[in-house]
């Protein structure tokens, strides 16, 4: 639940989602759900020459299970808060 809440706070930010097929998609985070499925708006593929497969797609839904990384804006990361929250979750409380 921690990362679900975390991603919900990032809605509206510009992120890059790298998938497990090496495709990287950049766009504005529109929404996220319990499975960490992600919806992006104003999307563009990072290397369009190599991957022209989504040239006519501007909004997309990415299945959580195929996400390898989500690259965040530096100002979207509060390390102190994440440290506290992950430690609390690891303790089981």
């Amino acid at each position: 639940m921690l990362f679900f809440s975390y991603f919900k706070d990032l809605v509206g930010r510009e992120v890059t989602v790298e998938l497990k097929n090496d495709l990287a998609i950049r766009g504005t985070l529109h929404s996220v759900d319990q499975y960490l499925n992600i919806k992006l708006e104003n999307t563009r593929v990072v290397d369009q020459d190599k991957y022209p497969h989504m040239l006519s797609v501007r909004n997309c839904f990415i299945r959580g299970s195929v996400v390898r990384y989500v690259q965040l804006p530096p100002e979207g990361v509060d390390i102190e808060l994440l440290h506290d929250a992950t430690r609390r979750e690891a303790r089981g409380g």
Binding site: L19, K20, N21, D22, L23, I25, H30, S31, V32, D33, Q34, N37, I38, K39, T43, K50, Y51, P52, H53, M54, L55, S56, V57, R58, N59, C60, F61, I62, R63, S65, V66
Partner: protein, 130 residues
């Protein structure tokens, strides 16, 4: 007034149940947002699906469920290769199991109309490796 906001059968039923209990206002817009990134907004639109084995299937979204299983109507596959332009294979009505889906993209009809598929060359997408 409540019924004005309800569009789908499900919403109308919900409204009926709630008005029996005295609830007078629901904002279905915000309900949808809190539901996260569902595919409701893409129903009856043309979508482009990328599957885990790297295929690209384009069709009209007719239905979906919690597990991202989807029903596509009038679908075709776009086969990418480096030797020739994009080939389109007619598939028709398709059900794709959610496990096998990577990305569901809303196809912008204008952008797609301006795309010259016969000149587009690229390697097929790599399969997903978990």
């Amino acid at each position: 007034m409540l019924h004005l906001f309800a569009r789908t059968q499900k919403q109308k039923k919900l409204v009926h149940n709630l008005s029996c209990r005295g609830v007078s206002h629901i904002d279905f817009g915000s309900l949808k947002m809190s539901g996260g990134p569902g595919l409701e907004s893409l129903v009856d639109q043309t979508i482009s699906v990328i599957t885990n084995d790297g295929r690209n299937i384009v069709g009209v979204l007719k239905g979906f469920d919690q597990a991202t299983n989807i029903i596509l109507d009038e679908s075709h596959e776009r086969v990418y290769s480096t030797k020739e332009g994009v080939q389109q294979l007619v598939l028709g009505l398709y059900i794709i199991r959610g496990d096998n889906i990577s990305v569901v993209g809303e196809l912008d009809e204008d952008l797609d109309a301006h795309l010259d598929l016969s000149k587009l060359r690229a390697h097929p997408l790599k399969p997903v490796i978990h």
